[in-house]
């Protein structure tokens, strides 16, 4: 249980006493003017971590029979621009589930399970801090696709513009009906996962922010593939619900009040997070663990208990790794949920200090799929949670970077080369799992990697925004080195934590750090890299096309710096050879690569090819003949789509394929003898 500041307790008592009483509404309105100051008071963190331009004070009741959450909300937004703002934009995410013609449902193949399955959110009244009724001043817009059936963005025409530095306070009564089947949010019987459930401000971006030219709201519709871009906010959330429900949320539990009549009120507070979600289910088992300053809570089902240690271990691995290599996790609390089988639609989601993983019950211990999901979703606490990029417009900054770190963590802790799957005869690393998705995709070149999430064509969203981005981030690490890469992210965190970085901002960090650590070794900047892998559609493929070695009959020239004249000797040990290794660049992407060349004398030579030409020949004169060559011998260039042709040997042994066939034959023979009577 957390410590709650005195100030906050006074605020909560005040709220309980007065907030719902009509006679106090005017007093309340005046008080709301001071709300940002009150909300800025600290209950969890020592000091605000973000600008806290928005905040939400929500008091609702869950009706578990009708799956409805209803109540009131006071939301505030500070105009930090230099211009008056005459409108506000809010996400109405749950309306994505209100019809099969919404952008989300029509593109995401979601449909309600019966007439009770539809989800929606309705604002029944809205007023500003002066008590002005805003009914009639708001309506739905569809900024992304013009879909008139989509009601996931609410535009409010304000009666008076919000002056620079002033605060817009909205008081809303709203009703949220949860959808079924669950897709990120919703219910199944008495399991409720309540996410993206309340009217929520978009982000008001000022000119220059994320390379934006003019001030304006950034508030996208709810799409099947992305959902996050929000201000870091303060949340005070009270939920009244039946006492038998076990709850958890992204906030810190302030108090749980027994209201009698089988009801209770749960009060949470969260600071500097980008979204607030909560869950309620009578069947939850609650487990706790402590890591440094963080109280970690796992909500799981009875059947998930046996894998709880695996999940805790994975979270702690991720905390350790990201704390050391990116930056500190500042909150003293973290809750994650392993949903029951019927709630699995809520699995694999992230709400900064609350995330959901997947059940590990059916997964054997040699596979780390569930641990991978746990690490991935926790990673979003950093990439999108603290470093609050715009997932709608630049999903690679969110999912791509997070996948890259997930793969590093999984392979670091569960085994380099076999992090995801480890059997004596079969293995796979997490990084390879992502790379396979990219290199085997037939349409990997049809789009650039910088598209908004809903613009990726032909089902390439996941492959591009998760996997291609992770692959070229591994490649970048291979080029600039792991230590420099870690320093890039430390600096990225230092500059951009609790702000809204864009992809360009990340690239600027890369350029600065690489320049600082390596000077001009990689050129003036690293834009040449990003122009190819992020903004380009080309692919990378290097090839060793052949090796030749010819005995020299006579020779005049320089060998090892000495001028020599040579006539063929009868002694074989004195024979000189001219060996040639032929390399080719088959793809459009130009990256510097290392080339390791082996001689029959056992000698090895490491060359560096800048890759600029379409081909390159290396020639060697000496007593040794080249017998093999490998491009990228240490697998640094993950983005090379075909590593089969990266190496060439004059002496393929065939032992490996013989062994594989031996095993195949043995397996079949044994099967025949076992499975016949």
């Amino acid at each position: 249980m957390c410590k709650v500041s005195k100030g906050l307790k006074i605020w909560l008592i005040f709220k309980d006493l007065f907030i719902n009483r009509t006679v106090m509404r005017k007093i309340f309105s005046v008080f709301m003017c001071l709300l940002p100051l009150v909300a800025a008071g600290q209950a969890i963190l020592d000091k605000p971590l973000s600008a806290r331009l928005t905040g939400y004070d929500i008091d609702v009741t869950l009706d578990p029979e009708k799956h409805i959450v209803s109540g009131m909300m006071t939301a505030w937004w500070v105009n930090n621009s230099s211009m008056p703002v005459g409108e506000a934009m809010m996400h109405m995410y749950l309306n994505a589930f209100s019809s099969n013609k919404s952008t989300f449902a029509s593109r995401g193949n979601w449909s309600a399970s019966g007439k009770d399955g539809w989800g929606w959110v309705k604002v029944s009244s809205m007023s500003d801090r002066k008590g002005n009724d805003l009914t009639g001043l708001y309506g739905y817009v569809s900024p992304d696709d013009g879909n008139e059936h989509d009601k996931t963005v609410l535009r409010i025409a304000l009666p008076e513009p919000v002056a620079p530095g002033d605060t817009l306070v909205l008081k809303l009564d709203f009703i949220s009906k949860l959808p079924s089947p669950i897709r990120r949010t919703g219910y199944d019987e008495d399991f409720h996962f309540v996410a993206q459930w309340f009217p929520k401000f978009g982000v008001y971006e000022t000119a220059g922010m994320r390379q934006r030219e003019a001030d304006g709201w950034n508030c996208h519709q709810f799409h099947p593939n992305s959902e996050f871009y929000s201000n870091h906010s303060v949340y005070n959330v009270s939920v009244t619900l039946p006492s038998e429900f076990v709850t958890g949320s992204g906030g810190m539990l302030i108090e749980e009040i027994d209201l009698g009549d089988g009801l209770k009120k749960v009060v949470w507070r969260a600071e500097d997070i980008v979204d607030f979600a909560w869950t309620a289910w009578p069947g939850y088992e609650v487990l706790d663990r402590k890591w440094n300053h963080v109280d970690i809570t796992l909500l799981t089902s009875k059947t998930g208990l046996s894998k709880a240690d695996n999940h805790f271990e994975a979270v702690i691995y991720a905390l350790e790794y990201l704390n050391e290599r990116v930056g500190p996790y500042p909150w003293p609390h973290l809750t994650f949920v392993d949903p029951p089988f019927n709630g699995s639609g809520a699995g694999g989601m992230e709400y900064t200090t609350l995330f959901t993983t997947m059940g590990a019950g059916a997964i054997p211990s040699f596979m780390k799929m569930a641990e991978m999901v746990t690490i991935h979703e926790f990673g979003h606490s950093y990439f999108m949670g603290m470093l609050a990029s715009n997932e709608f417009e630049e999903p690679w900054v969110d999912e791509g970077i997070n996948s890259y770190w997930e793969q590093r963590i999984v392979d670091h802790y569960y085994g380099d080369g076999y992090g995801l799957l480890r059997l004596p005869f079969l293995k796979m690393s997490d990084a390879d799992q992502g790379r396979i998705s990219y290199v085997t995709s037939p349409n990997r070149t049809i789009a650039t990697n910088d598209l908004p999430s809903w613009m990726y064509p032909h089902g390439t969203y996941s492959m591009m925004s998760y996997n291609k981005a992770a692959v070229w981030l591994h490649t970048l690490e291979g080029i600039i080195g792991t230590e420099t890469m870690d320093n890039v992210f430390r600096e990225y965190y230092r500059r951009w934590a609790f702000k809204h970085p864009s992809g360009q901002d990340f690239i600027a960090v890369v350029n600065d750090v690489v320049k600082n650590e390596h000077g001009n070794r990689f050129g003036e900047d690293m834009n040449w890299f990003f122009n190819q892998v992020l903004y380009g559609q080309g692919e990378c493929d290097y090839r060793v096309s052949g090796i030749t070695s010819n005995r020299i009959r006579s020779y005049s020239g320089v060998v090892n710096g000495d001028s020599v004249t040579y006539t063929r000797s009868d002694r074989s040990s004195d024979t000189l050879y001219l060996s040639r290794v032929s390399l080719e660049r088959l793809g459009e992407v130009i990256l510097p690569v290392e080339v390791l060349i082996g001689f029959d004398t056992g000698e090895e030579v490491l060359e560096n090819w800048d890759g600029t030409g379409a081909y390159k020949d290396y020639e060697y004169t000496g007593v040794g003949q080249v017998v093999w060559a490998k491009i990228d011998p240490y697998d640094k260039i993950d983005i090379d789509i075909n590593r089969m042709n990266n190496s060439f040997t004059l002496d393929p042994s065939g032992a490996t394929t013989r062994r594989m066939m031996n095993k195949f034959m043995f397996l079949v023979q044994m099967m025949i003898s076992i499975f016949t009577l």
Partner: protein, 282 residues
């Protein structure tokens, strides 16, 4: 006859039938080579002069599958189809040779020419095939009733993705304990066909059940003991085969010899079960 004597006499008869067992082994080897050689040639063609095979030295790295690309799909399809066809062919082959082995274990003990062995195999093939199919059906239905159905019910009740819990564990153990009954009936039925020369399948099954009832504990104990030893052997050889990663030519050849030796031993152990059941029934 005691259980020990039954097992001992069965083992002696199985070892004495080494020529027949070696014939079965050679046949299965030729069968799998028919698929194995083309697959190996396919692999060699895919890898050609690439050194990426080094990544497969300590187990198959799935990451390499991405680099193999589309040919990997073709390789997997060929291997899967090959395995399926080999399994079907193997089923017929083992059913066929069982006829010869049971004839050998029921006839007056002495030399059996290869031609006699093959003639007996051919003569008994159809009734043995019917018995094998019927017994596999019975075992399949029983498995569904004992494991499948309770598993489905357990998953529906608990909401788990896999059946588990103490009830399922008990059912697994019961299933294992019931298996020797069916194997004994199958073997005793085939022994009856070999001994009488009758091709009447249901009468053979009746004789199998009758034999079980008459000497239940000896019959059951014999098959259970052989099965347990077989299970331990199979687990050990699979463990060996999975961890062995020879990467030099001579080591790969030795590995081939070792695995084929294990296959031969496994065939001896199967023949041991047949012979032991014949001993128990006599």
């Amino acid at each position: 006859m005691t259980l020990f004597n039954t097992l001992k006499n069965g083992a002696v008869k199985a070892v004495s039938s080494y020529k027949q067992i070696l014939l079965i082994w050679v046949t299965t080897l030729i069968l799998v080579l028919a698929v194995g050689f083309p697959l190996r040639a396919f692999l060699n063609m895919i890898f050609d002069s690439s050194m990426i095979v080094e990544k497969l030295n300590d187990g198959f790295d799935i990451g390499v599958a991405g680099d193999i690309g589309r040919p990997f799909g073709a390789l997997m399809a060929s291997a899967s189809a090959g395995t399926f066809l080999l399994s079907i062919a193997g089923f017929f082959l083992m059913t066929f040779f069982a006829g010869g082995l049971f004839r050998r274990f029921t006839m007056a003990w002495g030399r059996q020419k290869v031609s006699d062995f093959l003639r007996a195999s051919a003569n008994n093939f159809l009734p043995y095939l019917r018995i094998a199919i019927l017994m596999m059906l019975i075992i399949g239905v029983l498995t569904f009733i004992m494991i499948g159905l309770p598993g489905i019910i357990t998953m529906a009740i608990t909401g788990m993705q896999t059946p588990s819990g103490i009830v399922m564990k008990i059912l697994y153990v019961l299933w294992v304990l019931v298996m020797p009954v069916w194997l004994f009936v199958a073997d005793a039925s085939r022994r009856w066909v070999a001994a009488t020369g009758s091709h009447k399948t249901f009468r053979a099954l009746g004789a199998g059940f009758r034999a079980l009832r008459e000497r239940f504990w000896l019959s059951y104990g014999t098959v259970l003991a052989v099965l347990l030893i077989n299970a331990a052997f199979v687990a050990a050889v699979f463990w060996f085969a999975s961890i062995a990663t020879p990467d030099k030519g001579i080591m790969v050849f030795l590995f081939f010899l070792a695995t084929q030796t294990l296959v031969i031993i496994r065939l001896f152990m199967k023949a041991w079960r047949y012979a032991a059941v014949c001993e128990a029934v006599q």
